[in-house]
Subunit: 139 residues, 2 copies
């Protein structure tokens, strides 16, 4: 046993409903779905978050999420749109520290509300340029 | 001129603050940031959404978003965590119909609230199995 529930699921030691897998990634049903049909895609090799995830595995994780999203749209599951979401770090809402990409079916009047821009930020071009330089400094 | 603002930005015919680019993707500052440092990553070849995005380009878009996320965490930008978000379709909140992945710096008490699970869905394993079969049918 490891202390990581997603590693336990990947190893088959914890229950899950698998949707799709390949050598790199596994997609399985979220047991606390925001909407019915909510799927999680995880890299099979443990990585706690984006800082720890090899780029190759990140790309594969996204590609599997994209396949699931397109499958949801074609399926009988109620799905008029899809959100892909990933939380990196507690401040972003991450709860399980094994990187995972949410694939969430959406429809009008559903269970997900994303509220933002309470401050109506409208930075000037000079402000954007300054922040971009700060980000590039971290690259 | 095309009718797609992101294609205009990619072509350099519309103003933007670029952060990073390669042959496949471009990262630039969102002019209506949820939090300061909010970046969009887009494929350079037009794709309206996930149904239209070659897997190769999707993987590269995610990899660039991951690089930006890690750079944000190391930068002077206020950033204690990061959300990656993509909206596929109007029902998911998509507003610009050129696929784009949001890279959003997060910190405690910031401008983004994600509310969900109003219905506290707790499906049985049998229900999850049934829905997974429906999704696989769409693959």
């Amino acid at each position: 046993m490891t202390s990581c529930i997603f590693c336990e699921i990947i190893a088959g030691r914890a229950d899950s409903t698998r949707v799709l897998e390949d050598e790199t990634c596994l997609a399985f049903m979220d047991i606390r779905p925001i909407n019915a049909g909510h799927v999680l895609v995880v890299p099979k090799t443990h990585a706690k978050d984006l800082s720890d995830l090899p780029a190759e595995n990140g790309g594969r994780m996204f590609q599997m999420a994209q396949m699931i999203a397109n499958a949801l749209m074609k399926s009988e599951v109620r799905c008029e749109g899809v959100n892909l979401m990933l939380a990196h770090g507690k401040a972003a809402g991450q709860e399980v520290f094994h990187a995972h990409l949410h694939v969430i079916p959406r429809y009008r009047g559903d269970n997900l509300k994303i509220r933002f821009n309470l401050l109506k930020l409208r930075p000037t071009r000079a402000e954007l340029d300054r922040i971009a330089a700060q980000i590039r400094h971290g690259l």
